[in-house]
């Protein structure tokens, strides 16, 4: 039962008697509040199954709903570095693939029909499995939850689907500047290979197998690693029986709980100025900070208050000065992000127009320095503490919040009354404490400062502030297939085969007369939705230039590369492609047959015969040409009867996705004294991508050098 505040009614009675307008105090400070109604905290029931699984239950009969949420001792920080992405894929495929008894596709249908959800995921330091159902469906929900946690099927097709999603995330990770800034700042502090900052790459995703998923699951999914909370419209006794029924028979795994991996001590020492250039945005992001601490550090409470004064909330120093007073930023603030079981990050950040890049950097740094030197005022301290303490009732406004908090405390080894201790400790924080921690922790000479934005367009340049470390955020393409070391025999045989290819195509004299060529063709792309035709005109200059014209349903597009810059002309105008595209253009030029044959003696290039092979049922000889330093490699298949190239395989990004490309040549005709394949079938990763049919080839068309350059 709730107590209504009698006082409230009494006050009302008095007020009703008085004329209305005079009742309004001149200032809000004169308002008198009744005491707060009692905070009624439901006491969760905690018990442990004999297999070690811990359960928290809270009844809440407000709505006919039941929710359950399990926290599981697992996370990407424990996955092998070479398999980055594995934990996340396990978390996804547990649900999308389902179990033997509840295959994922059937679950999709059943849960959507019920208006229910069962979801699983694995993050950096924990795994989560959640059920949300109308109360009459709870038996089914728990049965499904237990079965997919215990017996995930990990079907191959759902692993492939999860990998597509992962590759998409990789491809898109440089699209949004704010995401780049946060991610790269983490990598600066923890180090790019740290379990707390590493990221999935094409190579790590490609290497993940079903066995890896099963092994990861075996390692972490044991009842001792699970804390399950359920709350909603049930009786605790009945719910206990239901949970015993589905989880009680799960045998203990007996493996010790993994400890949190340590943070590299070097993470404490990353001071410096870092820059990432992104040229297509009108603003810059500035992030600065350093390695912070944990929630169980004695100084945590004072630091929390200190941060609130510096950059937390609506009236912090950063908000008041940088945003409201100077109008420099919409986003500005700071966070003392203490970790539960490993050191988190302190960071202060803001985003501003390119012209004021350095201005905002200085403005934020000035506020940090100001707090370190001068400490905080009495009013500021009161604001920060009152904000936390007076709003304490909000910690109890939802049953889910109350019980999940207890689960987190137990998961990370914090006392059950941690919230009360937190409150008491915040209350004790004094001005002296804030001044001390600000002085001790906020050292501007120890800041790592990351600037993301245009390279120029602001004064002074970054270099005026100190030594600048440029960070490259180019997405690493997959490594080329590893080949056995070339024996002298294989190298000789390879060169011999390619010499014969040169003869078959027209002979050295005629080939070396070719300096440039234009190929006009129609590319028919095969898709499940039918074929798309693109008209193409590609010119290659053997000196290392390239110009492609394409007619698409969206209009004509031109892509050029002058050896320095990749650019595009679209109906929208001329644009420079990101610098990372240069490697793709170089790869494309590297693989051009005539250019490849002309440059076999270049330093750094290795040629190696790989022996007989089969290509679409035909017997061929394979030769690999490799430029190790540039991560470029192509395999040429030679027809042993004619010595014409039968095909070629290589790794390249086509439409945002790196893949294994196979070209198969036919319909050889002569143009300019040299033989050319007039038909090419393109496959990617074993599937047909399309067919390119040549209509005309011009040898030495004589383009001006300027034709390859970005038009002004």
């Amino acid at each position: 039962m709730r107590r209504r505040t009698l006082l409230g009614f009494a006050v009302l009675g008095v007020l009703l008697a008085a004329p209305a307008a005079s009742q309004i105090p001149k200032t809000y400070k004169e308002l008198k509040y009744p005491p707060l109604n009692r905070i009624e905290v439901p006491e969760p029931v905690r018990f442990q199954l004999s297999n070690g699984l811990v359960v928290y239950l809270v009844e809440d009969h407000e709505l006919p709903l039941i929710r359950a949420s399990a926290l599981i001792r697992t996370g990407s920080r424990w996955e092998p570095a070479a398999k980055a992405g594995l934990a996340s894929i396990v978390g996804t495929v547990m649900r999308t693939g389902g179990s033997e008894r509840f295959p994922g596709d059937q679950l999709d249908e059943e849960l959507d029909r019920l208006g229910a959800s069962v979801e699983t995921s694995i993050g950096e330091d924990s795994g989560r499995a959640q059920v949300s159902v109308l109360k009459q469906d709870i038996d089914r929900g728990l049965e499904i939850l237990a079965d997919i946690l215990r017996h995930p099927a990990f079907p191959q097709d759902k692993i492939e689907l999860a990998k597509i999603q992962q590759r998409d995330r990789i491809a898109r990770r440089n699209d949004n500047p704010n995401a780049i800034a946060f991610r790269e700042f983490r990598r600066i502090i923890y180090g790019p290979d740290s379990p707390y900052a590493r990221q999935p790459e094409y190579d790590t995703i490609n290497s993940i197998t079903r066995q890896d998923l099963a092994a990861f699951h075996r390692e972490f999914f044991q009842p001792e690693n699970v804390i399950l909370a359920a709350w909603g419209d049930f009786s605790a006794a009945e719910m206990r029986a239901k949970i015993e029924k589905v989880f009680g028979s799960w045998p203990p795994g007996g493996r010790p709980k993994p400890p949190a991996p340590a943070v590299d001590p070097a993470a404490r020492n990353r001071a410096g100025l870092y820059q990432i250039v992104k040229d297509d945005i009108p603003n810059a992001w500035v992030v600065m900070g350093f390695l912070a601490g944990q929630r169980n550090d004695p100084d945590f409470y004072a630091l929390e208050v200190m941060n609130s004064i510096l950059g937390g909330g609506f009236s912090s120093r950063l908000f008041n000065k940088v945003r409201s007073e100077q109008g420099l930023a919409y986003t500005v603030g700071s966070t003392w992000n203490a970790g539960w079981d490993y050191p988190g990050l302190f960071l202060a950040l803001g985003s501003t127009k390119t012209e004021s890049t350095v201005q905002i950097l200085e403005a934020i740094r000035r506020e940090i320095a100001g707090l370190a030197q001068g400490g905080a005022g009495e009013e500021e301290l009161a604001r920060a503490k009152d904000g936390i303490l007076k709003g304490f009732a909000f910690e109890f406004d939802s049953t889910g919040k109350i019980v999940q908090r207890l689960v987190s405390y137990e998961y990370y080894g914090y006392p059950r009354d941690y919230l009360q201790r937190y409150r008491d400790n915040i209350e004790k924080v004094t001005r002296e404490d804030v001044a001390r921690v600000a002085r001790q922790y906020l050292k501007t000479d120890q800041l790592a400062i990351l600037v993301l934005g245009k390279e120029k367009g602001f004064e002074p340049p970054l270099s005026a502030l100190g030594k600048v470390t440029r960070l490259d955020i180019t997405i690493p393409p997959p490594k080329q297939e590893a080949l056995a070391a070339a024996t002298p025999e294989a190298a000789a045989r390879g060169k011999e085969l390619l010499a014969r290819v040169r003869e078959a195509l027209g002979g050295t004299a005629r080939l070396s007369a070719v300096r440039e060529y234009t190929v006009a063709s129609t590319l028919n792309l095969s898709t499940p939705q039918g074929e798309f035709a693109l008209k193409m005109e590609s010119t290659v200059n053997l000196a290392g230039r390239m110009l492609n014209k394409m007619t698409t349903p969206m209009g004509e597009m031109v892509q050029g590369y002058d050896g320095q810059t990749v650019w595009m002309r679209t109906p929208q105008g001329v644009r420079e492609a990101p610098a990372s595209q240069r490697a793709e253009a170089e790869g494309s030029l590297f693989r051009e047959t005539l250019r490849l044959l002309a440059g076999l003696d270049s330093p750094g290039l290795t040629v190696q015969a790989l022996g007989p092979a089969e290509l679409e049922g035909r017997k061929v000889e394979a030769v690999a040409v490799r430029d190790e330093a540039r991560n470029l490699q192509v395999k040429l298949y030679v027809d042993p009867a004619t010595y014409l190239p039968a095909g070629k395989t290589y790794t390249a990004a086509l439409m945002g996705a790196p893949g294994e490309i196979l070209e198969i040549y036919s319909d050889w005709k002569e143009a300019g004294g040299v033989k050319w394949p007039y038909k090419t079938v393109l496959n990617r990763d074993g599937k047909k991508l399309g067919e390119n049919t040549v209509s005309e080839i011009k040898v030495n068309p004589g383009l001006e050098e300027s034709a390859y350059r970005k038009p002004q």
Binding site: G8, I24, L111, G115, N320, F394, Q559, Q572, A657
Partner: protein
């Protein structure tokens, strides 16, 4: 095993059809509503779970009320509503007031010279700009920075924020429930005696907000897409405003906007939580009763004419492929509104939804996809939009075609009963899940009141969805998803082509 399970699902589905708004009687019984003499409407919902309450003021004005030249004003005004009053946010209003007038005069003089364009005297411009900055600095001396927000924070407030959309502007925060009167004091003063201090600095802040949007590929796509989809109605304009308008908005613009739209009959307040409705009414009359009533602003004249031909925009960016497709649809009060909701649910809700299954799971042409009605608003005829991230190695054309195929299925095949029962059951479960949060209840109740004239429609919507038939879905899909009614927006990446 398999068949048993199937029939079991069917039984569950049929049971769902019975659950209409009836079962939401109890919560509706806890709602109290009243309208003040000046026309301001209040909706109060008691929820005594914890001693806290959420407060929201819904202003029935959004970017749709802007005209050419003042785009972004509704949103900039929202920022100004945090700048305080004659009592809040000032160290000495008697001195601040003339200082603020000087800022206005200095700004006007500078702008007047600036408008001469090429004929402007550069020396004079510099002087006038310096004078403006000087006046700003002078006025700044009297500012108590962000005091409005600070008071709320010091009171233990949470969720303090405001939002502006095409249809509405919302102001909200939550407080421990014993501080109920603080909300009345602050919120009534906010709309009774606002002072637009630091106007030109806040305008700079909003320009930064616009730049954040411009730096996001999807933000840029949305702006171009809406501009293509609308040629007459203001739904085609960006809420944040055009940069040139932002550069020229004045404090006088904001004051005129305030006088016209922030009248009591254009405001709805929602209070949800541990409160006594009698007391809320008392305080409402005392505090908000002071705001003088004014004439309700005239309704918008412009209607978007029927679209005559497909429209397309393609953005080439340093970003990955993205697809947006939109079709014009009627507003929220149209009898078919629930049919559109049902179509959205069929297409996008859950992993068995048609778009996820069709584009992500089976065809693998997209990695994320959604199709939903009501963008960018619901007050006026909006769009049913589809949004997809194209999967790596696939083309936007494939995604567009796959969306068309799903649409064709909607038009050609009647939806199965089982699938439709799922829609109905999810609508009920979804509504239930919204009911355990004070702030989201305050938002939903006030929105329904403003958009449909009755907050009860939040619950009546269920009955309407329950009445949707397979024939309704086919009919509405056929009317809506036509070639001439279609707008497409694409992001194509700037990337190096392979030689061939």
């Amino acid at each position: 095993m398999r068949t048993l399970w199937r029939s079991w699902i069917l039984a569950a589905g049929l049971a769902a059809a019975c659950g209409g708004q009836e079962e939401f009687r109890e919560i509706q019984g806890r709602v109290t509503e009243f309208t003040l003499n000046n026309g301001m409407k209040f909706i109060v919902l008691e929820r005594h779970k914890a001693p806290v309450a959420s407060f929201l003021t819904y202003a029935d004005v959004g970017s749709a009320q802007e005209t050419k030249g003042i785009t972004g004003l509704a949103h900039l005004f929202e920022h100004m509503a945090f700048k305080g009053t004659d009592k809040i946010g000032t160290k000495d209003y008697a001195k601040e007031r003339p200082a603020l007038e000087k800022v206005e005069q200095a700004y006007a003089a500078w702008q007047q010279e600036k408008r001469k364009g090429g004929k402007a005297d550069p020396e004079k411009l510099k002087k006038l700009e310096a004078a403006f900055k000087q006046a700003q600095e002078e006025a700044g001396k009297y500012v108590a920075a962000n005091e409005f927000g600070e008071i709320i924070e010091r009171a233990g407030g949470r969720q303090l924020n405001a939002t502006t959309g095409s249809d509405r502007t919302n102001y909200f925060f939550s407080l421990p429930s014993n501080e109920l009167e603080l909300w009345f004091w602050l919120e009534s003063e906010r709309f009774l005696h606002p002072v637009f201090r630091e106007f030109y600095k806040e305008r700079d802040v909003v320009m930064e907000e616009r730049r954040l949007m411009e730096s996001q590929p999807v933000g840029r796509l949305l702006e171009e897409f809406l501009a293509a989809a609308y040629k007459a109605h203001p739904y085609g304009e960006p809420v944040v405003g055009h940069m040139s308008d932002l550069e020229n908005l004045t404090r006088a613009d904001a004051e005129a906007f305030f006088r016209k739209y922030y009248i009591p009959s254009n405001l709805i307040a929602a209070v949800v939580g541990d409160v006594n409705p009698q007391r809320v009414r008392e305080l409402a009359e005392r505090y908000f009763g002071r705001i003088p009533s004014g004439p309700k602003p005239e309704p918008l004249r412009t209607l978007e004419p029927p679209q005559q031909a497909e429209r397309r925009v393609t953005l080439w960016l340093q970003a990955q492929r993205t697809v947006m497709v939109g079709y014009h649809k009627p507003d929220i009060n149209h009898p078919d509104d629930a049919v559109y909701s049902a179509i959205g649910s069929l297409l996008s809700e859950g992993r068995s939804s048609r778009l996820y299954r069709g584009l992500v799971r089976d065809r693998k042409v997209a990695t994320q996809v959604v199709g939903a009605p009501g963008f960018p608003g619901q007050k006026y005829p909006g769009l049913f939009i589809f949004f997809a991230f194209t999967a790596p190695g696939r083309t936007n054309q494939e995604v567009e075609k796959a969306i068309e195929e799903e649409i064709e299925r909607l038009v050609k095949e009647p939806v199965g009963n089982e699938e439709l029962e799922g829609v109905k059951r999810r609508a009920r479960a979804g509504l239930l899940r919204q009911l355990d949060d004070n702030m989201s209840l305050a938002m939903e109740l006030s929105s329904m009141q403003a958009l449909t004239g009755d907050w009860r429609n939040l619950f009546r919507e269920l009955d309407k969805i329950n009445a949707v038939t397979p024939a309704d879905i086919q009919r509405v899909a056929k009317q809506t998803f036509t070639r001439a009614n279609k707008t497409v927006g694409l992001i194509e990446p700037l990337e190096a082509a392979q030689a061939r």
